[in-house]
């Protein structure tokens, strides 16, 4: 696969090639070259099958890391193409013309992370949510439990006790730290 790595590096400035497994590698490109990289992989390198596309919120670095996993069935090899996009202004070129299902992934990423793919069909429509008023919920700073507790009423009457605290209360209550 090293030839592919070199080729990608030369053509699209791909870097950080890792062989994760015998049949799985990953590499990183700039988001601006993401579309072209994928197009080349699909049309010229045999990576014609898009397994999935998704994003990871790397909030610490202030980026969303997009992951497009493409597979070359002839060579039995999958490649994860990563691209970091700015969390503050996440806009990426759409791949809906490359793959027929691309727009669905992009709708998902738009709704779940707030990453925009201008031109992608129905990208601004709600995908799985309806009437959602919160922030994109797959972002790391969205607290699902807090939202759930604030929005949906649970059944009252649950109380639990910490064993260590309970034992202190019952066995050595005088020990106040």
């Amino acid at each position: 696969m090293n030839e592919l790595a070199k080729e990608l590096a030369a053509r699209y400035g791909a870097r950080d090639w890792h062989d994760r497994r015998g049949d799985l590698s990953s590499t990183v490109v700039d988001p601006i070259r993401l579309h072209d990289t994928l197009a080349w992989l699909k049309d010229s390198a045999g990576y014609a099958h898009l397994s999935f596309a998704t994003a990871v919120d790397n909030i610490e670095r202030g980026v969303f890391t997009l992951t497009y996993t493409v597979r070359n069935h002839e060579q039995g090899h999958s490649l994860m193409v990563h691209a970091d996009v700015d969390r503050a202004n996440p806009v990426v070129d759409s791949i809906h013309l490359l793959w027929g299902q691309g727009w669905t992934y992009q709708r998902e990423m738009k709704e779940w992370f707030g990453i925009d793919f201008p031109g992608s069909p129905r990208v601004d429509e709600e995908f799985v949510l309806e009437g959602w008023e919160g922030p994109p919920m797959m972002r790391r700073d969205f607290d699902s439990l807090a939202y759930s507790d604030a929005t949906y009423e649970g059944r009252p009457g649950r109380v639990t006790h910490d064993p260590a605290t309970r034992m202190q209360e019952r066995l050595y209550p005088e020990a106040g730290k």
């Binding site: 099958h49 898009l50 992951t67 027929g100 299902q101 727009w103 669905t104 919920m137 699902s144």
Partner: protein, 387 residues
């Protein structure tokens, strides 16, 4: 004979019917509709009896698994993942476990490998059995479901005996499996396979040699081979289009490289042939199950000991583990930041493409009455779309 072997390729671009013209009917099929698989909906625009445009709407079953998984410990996610796809929970269990094992550098004992394979083949059979009932039912053929769902139940009985659960087996745990086979279990498996095989023969006769089914299914939903890569089609849908891809062969995971089976492909690529192909795969599953029972090691450990699940941390890394489920490529993309919880887990279900992009396109030009049959013939399952 309508549509016999005639390959109508639906238009690539969406129709833009003038809805105010009064010529078209906008109707919703689902979520509360017997002709829809699972809980999703289609917004159909019909010109007379013919669908001219379709929009899929998903999310009725969205529970936010991927978010919930980021909140739970690695091991705590093990009971959660199987809920992503109810008819085939084991593929979730396997992919999740395998991804974790790969990231943590754990090797699973041989016995567990075989038990996992057995589990996956059994659920494949069960899932297909349920599907075939739905496929027949969608064309008004209720008898098949009366048989096949019972046959599926027999497989579930086996799972109950093996794992303690009927629907959610929670058997394939990271590190291996949760227990060895109980006494007499393998005999029960073989007996059940015998019963199911006999029943499949009946189904073959009654369903596939049925004029009604033939008339409605032949030629319906033709998928051209070039769509396979274009739309990311996998599984029987792709194989029926003549594309010989099966991850059991391609990836060679679990005990599959040691099992003897042939890739089944077709070429006519319509609803009828997809059904035929799945029937053949059911027979193949029975055969594989028999092979597994015969060749599985009798003794040995079934689980590798892992660190304390309450503190288990997995080294930073990412991986994508896929397996061939009944519908195609099922995969888990798992990212660890070195902590005790996943950084990100993304689930790739085959319905993601089949039930949305492919469905929306295939349904253009189809008779309203065939929409349900077409959808079932793609073998879709909404929860794996929306998770």
């Amino acid at each position: 004979m309508r549509r016999q072997n005639e390959h109508v390729i639906p238009p690539e671009t969406r129709a833009t019917p003038d809805l105010s013209s009064g010529k078209y009917l906008v109707m919703w099929q689902g979520p509360q509709h017997p002709g829809i698989t699972g809980n999703m909906s289609l917004r159909l625009v019909a010109d007379g009896d013919t669908v001219v445009d379709c929009e899929t709407h998903v999310g009725y079953l969205h529970r936010g698994f991927e978010k919930l998984m980021e909140r739970r410990l690695w091991m705590q996610n093990f009971p959660l993942v199987c809920r992503i796809a109810v008819p085939e929970p084991d593929f979730n269990e396997y992919c999740y476990a395998a991804a974790l094992e790969e990231l943590a550098g754990v090797t699973v004992p041989e016995k567990a490998v075989w038990l996992r394979t057995l589990s996956l083949e059994m659920i494949r059979l069960a899932s297909f059995l349920m599907w075939i009932g739905g496929q027949a039912g969608a064309f008004g053929h209720g008898t098949i479901a009366q048989w096949s769902v019972t046959m599926r139940d027999y497989v579930l009985d086996l799972f109950e005996e093996l794992s303690g659960g009927r629907i959610y087996h929670m058997y394939i745990i990271p590190g291996g499996v949760r227990g060895d086979v109980p006494d007499g279990f393998l005999d029960h498996v073989l007996e059940t396979m015998q019963v199911i095989k006999k029943n499949l023969d009946d189904i073959e006769l009654v369903m596939f040699h049925n004029a009604v089914f033939k008339m409605r299914a032949v030629g319906l939903g033709y998928i051209p081979p070039d769509w396979v890569d274009k739309y990311g089609i996998t599984g029987p849908n792709a194989r029926s289009a003549g594309v010989a891809r099966d991850l059991r062969k391609d990836l060679g995971y679990l005990a599959y490289p040691q099992l003897d089976f042939k890739l089944i492909t077709g070429g006519r690529s319509d609803a009828f042939e997809r059904a035929e192909l799945r029937l053949a795969e059911m027979y193949q599953s029975i055969d594989l199950i028999r092979q597994i029972v015969a060749r599985m090691p009798k003794d040995g450990p079934f689980r590798e000991r892992l660190p304390n699940p309450l503190h288990w941390k997995i080294p930073a890394g990412e991986t994508y583990v896929a397996a061939e489920c009944t519908r195609g490529e099922y995969g888990f993309y798992v990212v660890s930041d070195g902590g005790d919880k996943p950084r990100r887990v993304a689930v790739r279900g085959p319905s993601y493409t089949h039930a949305v992009s492919v469905m929306e396109r295939l349904v253009r030009g189809v008779n309203i009455a065939d929409v349900a049959g077409l959808m079932v013939s793609l073998h879709t399952y909404p929860p794996e779309i929306e998770r």
